[in-house]
């Protein structure tokens, strides 16, 4: 079991659901050692994702995780968490999971949590901080680009 497959203790999902969830998230956004970034199944990221799932969507996600488990078992005889990345991706794509509503819900939450993780932000050469209060620098740009526009006659209409 890798780090990202460790159990995340939550009050909202069962232990078995959490295991499938971690694997599923790592399937959707896998870790990348060359970029030194975790997958979305990283424990710290999963913890934020689980906290972000609204109560109303929890059942939808739980049912979706059951479905993933059932489909995998039916096709390979394995549990989803027992498959390697390639096998999990094969399962994800062959069953069209990306089109399922629970993946759309989960995927949106995962994106929000993943791309605000400090490790991910740093890999994108971003400072892992809020915009305020430091703000950002923006270059002025080349204002001489306006010269041809300045030379144009007015383009608004006169009113009789």
């Amino acid at each position: 079991m890798t780090n990202s497959q460790e159990l995340i203790a939550t009050e909202s999902l069962s232990d078995s659901h959490c295991l499938v969830l971690n694997s599923l998230l790592d399937t959707m956004i896998p870790p990348d050692s060359t970029l030194s970034i975790p997958g979305a199944g990283d424990p710290a990221i999963v913890e934020r994702i689980v906290k972000s799932i609204r109560v109303g969507a929890l059942q939808q996600v739980s049912e979706g995780l059951n479905e993933v488990e059932a489909l995998t078992h039916e096709s390979s005889g394995l549990r989803f968490v027992e498959c390697d990345q390639a096998e999990r991706e094969e399962c994800f794509h062959s069953y069209g999971l990306a089109q399922r509503s629970f993946i759309r819900t989960l995927g949106s939450i995962a994106i929000h949590c993943y791309y605000t993780d400090p490790r991910v932000m740093e890999s994108l050469e971003m400072e892992p901080r809020p915009p305020f209060p430091q703000g950002f620098e923006l270059e002025q740009g080349d204002w001489s680009l306006l010269d041809p526009v300045r030379e144009r006659p007015k383009i608004y209409r006169n009113i009789p």
Binding site: T27, I29, G107, I159
Partner: protein, 533 residues
Amino acid sequence: MSEDIVDVLIVGAGASGAAVAWSLADTKMRIVCLEQGGWTNPSDYPSTGVDWENRHWGSFGIDPNQRGRETDYPINGSNSPIAVANFNAVGGSTILYAGHFPRFHPSDFRVKSLDGVADDWPIDYEILEPYYDENDRMMGVSGLEGDPAYPPKPQIMPPLPLGKSGQTLAKGFNSLGWHWWPSDTAIATEDYDGRGKCINLGGCYTGCAQGAKASSDITYWPHAIRAGVELRTHCRVREVTVDDNDFATGVTYFDENGVERHQRAEVVILACNGVGTPRLLLNSTSPRFPNGLANRSGLVGKNLMFHPYALIVGVFPDELDGYKGPGVCIWSQEFYETDESRGYLRGFTFECTRGRGVVGTALTGLGYGHIPWGSGHHAAYRKLHNRIAGMSAICEDFPEEHNTVTLDPDLKDSNGIPCPKIDYTVSENSEKMLQFAIERATEVLKASGATDILTECPIAHGGWHLMGTARMGTDPERSVVNEWGRCHDVKNMFVVDGSTFVTSAGVNPTRTIQALALYVADSMKKRLTNLFD
């Protein structure tokens, strides 16, 4: 419970309520404003957190139905392809607007005369011009003099930087010989009136923690309150009451504790914008106004205009500004005025946007199939990171009576007040204009170096501009308010918000809404001795 009579009662503390309150304050009349929302605390704005993009979809979201704050009221938008966007607070929707701040053009007030469509306004650019100037000073407008798309207007602060995105897009416009200009913005580029200058937080549409963006809670309201205006927050008005002589007597409202009260007033001013104002009027029925107050024309709630928007963005090979800086950048009005050879009447503005945050980039990539789930995710994401820029086309919408705000028979807010229902269709003229805009935007984005083009049309959550539902005019049978904002049917009641718009122009309305509010206030002050004649 009834309270002491006040001289002027304003309903709504947003863009127009703030402006009219400030302008009237110098009369020394007793002025009270009731606002259903509260004050926002800039330290709560999303840009104070790393997860600012996520929070934009929560308590600072633009959709009142999703946001669901206690201060919001639900809106039934099931029969409209465009959802209403608003915010209920001191400052109103200026809390969340982007700060894109164009004026109308002279032609926008004369579309019937010039193009044979819709109606002319009973006022013109020349009448509003001094109020535009006054509003520009109060809000603090940044921009550059000399735009050939406009009559001369004063520059108060320098424009926002072009940045990499603006520069890239400007080169594209230049290569086609098309107009562009740095956008006028309600964003301070210098310290202004106690507000700090813009420090490029990005996410202006989630609230400006820096205070550089001119939301009316930090521009007009501090001045109005110092001048003696009383602002009561968390007070939701249920109806305007009238007497047997068709004069407004005040309003019935629920205070912050949910207690029903009646505030008497000599003059009532509505500043709830294009959905809130007709909702309040339609909820204010009485034997003399069985179809809603000031609605003898039958036009209250009709002629709703939104501005259909198309979003057109490109993917660029090099990094642009991305998440840094205000979304507002440059605009183009190359296709603003009517050219019948295009197959439609009137026109649109291209509002260029610098880029988007990391979350927005990833969701855009996934939504358009440019980023997969799985092993190709990271490489695909990195091809989009800080590389998306483009524009939205804001198209002039025409007044059509079948586009309406009515009262939903079932939907109620937390005080039990009936809520609005929107019925709206995008017109054939708008459809043609949107299509033309997408084709031209694609052309200029490719000329700027974009490889892939992504579009959304109309922008489904783009109902930011709410206009036309209590229109202005000289004929009481064809309009709700007269040429200076007074209701034809109720001579001590005024409307100062976007609902008075006769036509929509092809630009954002807030600068004109506020100029109109100042103009109405000035008209009232000039007629104080015979205001109700």
